[in-house]
Symmetry: C2
Subunit: 354 residues, 2 copies
DNA sequence: ATGAAAGCGCTAACAG
DNA sequence: CTGTTAGCGCTTTCAT
């Protein structure tokens, strides 16, 4: 029994190399199952490529040892990390939460993990973040919001990593795109208010780029529809720094009313701002929607339960996350992505506040 | 020009091995800088271990090639992934956001990245999640909320990965701990209400374990202080399924009032529930705090701007994230962690609603 | 269906 | 301060 060739093994321990990490490796499992490491690998990754009998033995060995494959090693060897990076401006803003959650889940279901990065509001961090991301060789990158720096976009492109940009619709995506038109939202909300007889509209808007585009389209459409003072070319607006808060919504309505007592509708760039407007209106004794109509953006969970229930623009963040995950996984597994651009659209959810 | 020694390269391409991934590697950088790969490695990782002149040449080569280190390879070789996994029940609940944000930032500052996992509300996923986490050989795991399955705790322990549990204080942490006492909160809130003359208190509480512990401690203390109907041993309560929402807060107050018209204070297990109570009170024409006092939990950004401003329990989620990151990094870099248990405490923020 | 050999790209050891 | 050597743990390629 002892003259088997594995007696050679004993000698290897005293080589010159370095200490192994100590954990159970595929080699241990293979040895226990009486097969070569590569066979054990196949048993785990492509079960139908091995005989049922071997499969069974390997599985037993895994069970007995508590073996957990080292994905760093696997990723290095196969050039597939099964890691997807997501970049959000900040996780504190509730807008992208639904997307991140759905992304995490959709990926996890298929055996991929999510690495989260926050680009923050200052460009400086973005570069370091990108380096960190590319360094991990993820199988894909999901950008929620926008990658501002042109340099960043170039590096991403150069890295060859599949990229999905989301929450927007640009004519020139880096790679793939899952989003909707902010301009269309601005226009449709203006038409919605016009159809309900509003005469003087205003906005309270965050200072990020996408909110600004909604605001601009809304303003232009409103002017065209005559929902402004005769002769003016813009509507009253209050711009707040990101992230938007209930507090800035309150401040916004107060400011707007003091400067333009005649406004009868406010389009907010987030539900939080809208909640602030509702709060301020209540504190001031203004009736919503009789005296001021309010429309939010995001349809956060609380919107439908407010008093009055909030009319708002709903974006299906879950669909965005799911679709983005699908795009990345398709790419990672060598399938050709049918369409690189997905417009998930939006809905104006009509409730009591407008 | 063409008879340079790099003509040797041409021959190597025809070995038997496999196709390299194609990107720039440290070897390329080293060659360009005229040094050995290991020297280039040192120039990047421990700059003072090389001569200024070499450092400069390597940096130039990195610049020219756009080299980005492959952390998979580095991690495999050094047994340090510079990855930290965080587990949250769900990212949709805003409670942990501050912690996750602070964690991400604190880690990023020190060159670590965050991998996010959602354990969900069903235990089944937890096992798969754990496998995925351990497989990446992270330098640490941060548990926000709790790792329910005993099997999970065992596997984490067995993996040897540093673990920080947060948002709680248990006598038997897996490893390290950054949290606060939910029992103490329950007691102090009861005392707070008692000191302000409340006679009949109630709770609206999520059904997660930690909220239940706050609720229980609150109830017990309230009874002891006589803030219940004579002879009763519990206070009225309304339990809602996680995640808590504004809607369930409204429903909770409505139910509570119908069953116990005499209550004059409600302690909610989240600010969202409290906002629901405020909303329902407003819809019903109840004055807050005159008729009903409301106390929330979390001190989310909107709490201070509500009308009336919300009295609530503040947890410094940012401190929790920062401290947890520090613990993990200290461990990862071989420093001994001074204290494995940190109590970050809490504050009752007194505002208008109570 | 199984295995042997040869690395993936990087860094720990151990010299010089 | 710099280089040589030998792997980290896994999977690819090629052969059986």
């Amino acid at each position: 029994m002892s003259d088997k060739p594995n007696s050679v093994e004993a000698a290897t321990a005293e080589k010159k190399g370095r200490r192994r990490s100590g954990g159970i490796t595929l080699r241990d499992v293979a040895k226990l199952a009486g097969v070569a490491p590569i066979t054990a690998s196949r048993a785990l990754n492509t079960p139908n490529a091995v005989s049922p009998e071997v499969l069974q033995r390997v599985r037993a060995a895994v069970e007995r040892t508590g073996y957990v494959p080292n994905m760093l090693a696997g990723g290095l060897a196969s050039n597939k990390s099964r890691l997807v990076a997501a970049v959000v401006p900040t996780i504190a803003g509730p807008v992208f939460l639904e997307t991140v959650q759905s992304l995490t889940e959709s990926l996890a279901q298929r055996g991929y993990q999510l690495m989260l990065g926050q680009s923050g509001y200052q460009d400086s961090r973005e570069d370091a973040l990108l380096e960190a991301i590319i360094g991990r060789r993820p199988d894909g990158v999901v950008l929620t919001g926008i990658m501002r720096s042109a340099e960043g976009r170039r590096r991403l492109l150069a890295s060859g990593i599949p990229v999905v940009e989301t929450w927007d619709l640009t004519p020139t995506p880096i790679d793939m795109l899952v989003g909707f038109s902010h301009e269309k939202i601005g226009v449709e909300v203006a038409e919605y208010l016009h159809a309900r007889g509003r005469k003087r509209v205003a906005t309270i808007s965050g200072d990020d780029e996408r909110a600004a585009r909604r605001h601009k389209a809304f303003s232009r459409a409103a002017v065209k529809l005559g929902m402004c003072r005769p002769g003016e070319q813009t509507i009253p607006s209050f711009i707040v720094p990101a992230p938007t808060t209930l507090g800035s919504g309150r401040a916004g309505l107060a400011d707007l009313l003091s400067r333009h007592p005649d406004i009868d509708a406010v389009f907010c760039s987030s539900d939080l701002l809208a909640l602030g407007v509702l709060t301020e209106a209540q504190a001031k004794g203004l009736r919503v929607p009789e005296q001021v109509a309010v429309i939010g953006f995001g349809d956060l969970a609380f919107a439908k339960d407010l008093h009055p229930a909030l009319t708002t623009v709903r974006i299906d963040g879950t669909a965005i996350g799911r679709t983005a995950a699908q795009c990345i996984i398709d790419r990672a597994e060598g399938r050709t992505v049918a369409s690189p651009i997905h417009d998930v659209g939006f809905t104006i959810v009509e409730r009591a506040s407008a």
